[in-house]
């Protein structure tokens, strides 16, 4: 088997196992109260961390580049309660135009 296929199949198998562990082992059961309070904070915390790393991370470096334009336009649109899809398209356009302008 080639290395590429090894990577594809191994990453696929591990990802499926990671996703399934909680539901398979704990499925349908209530979490303890303290655990429930921790879990409540997971969605906001992980989404915020994903945004930060995808906007400012570049491998192991922190950078400010054309992505910031998309971030600002996106934040403005979300604040103004524009439709999600419009906000995403405008964010991408802002980053694309900034890249074009800055070259």
């Amino acid at each position: 088997m080639s290395g590429l296929w090894l990577a594809v199949l191994l990453v696929g198998a591990v990802s499926m196992a990671l996703k399934a562990t909680g539901p398979v082992l704990l499925g349908g059961e209530e979490l303890p109260a303290a655990m429930q309070r921790v879990v409540t904070l997971m969605a906001p915390t992980l989404l915020a961390a994903l945004i930060a790393t995808q906007m400012f991370g570049d491998g192991k470096a922190l950078v400010l580049d054309a992505r910031v334009a998309g971030l600002l336009v996106g934040a403005f649109g979300i604040w103004r309660k524009w439709p999600t899809l419009l906000v995403v398209v405008l964010g991408a356009a802002a980053t694309a135009l900034t890249r074009l302008a800055v070259g």
Partner: protein, 212 residues
Amino acid sequence: MQGLRAAVPLAVAVFGFAVSFGVVARAAGMGVLAPLVMSVTTFAGSAQFAAASVLGTGGGIAAAIVAAVLLNSRYLPIGISVAPAMTGGVLKRFLSAQLVVDESWAVGHIGGGRYSRGRLLGAGVLVYCAWVGGTAVGLLGAHYLGDPERFGLDVVSPVLFMALLKGQITSRKALVAAVLGVAIALTLVPFASPGVPLIAATAACLLGLRKR
């Protein structure tokens, strides 16, 4: 399947993101079948992008595997968070769990750390179709599309997450945890492999151990 309507704009954005994955994977020399199988089985954008970019820059197979697995390690705590909503037999729970990705997870959150199985699966099915279909389009159209960054497609995912985040900041505590999570993640980016800052950021959720 109540999550379907809420997930339509997400699915369109995910489709665009998937097209860019297809283009990047093709450019990285992964061929057509391997990236498609990856989208069908791994079904996680950031991990697949990381693997493709490591392979494309000659980083080696082992490094690609480690990067993708680390980025997906967040699905262990995410899986635990949705576990109470996942009912039925083991096989059903295993398959349902595969539809939980960042987008369907956010749509499925009905507040207070509780998740709706219908919303998780409805949104998950739609996002899954968009992800696999978009990958195929990107792979086949790679020659015509050029560099996806030219279209700003690399900010589609974070801007989408921003829109999802807004609905998740429902308390002062959630805001503090989110800000703390960002601080932890950005502090660790220069020192740790991609994915590690994310899993470390979940430590901010321990604020929940305090009752107030």
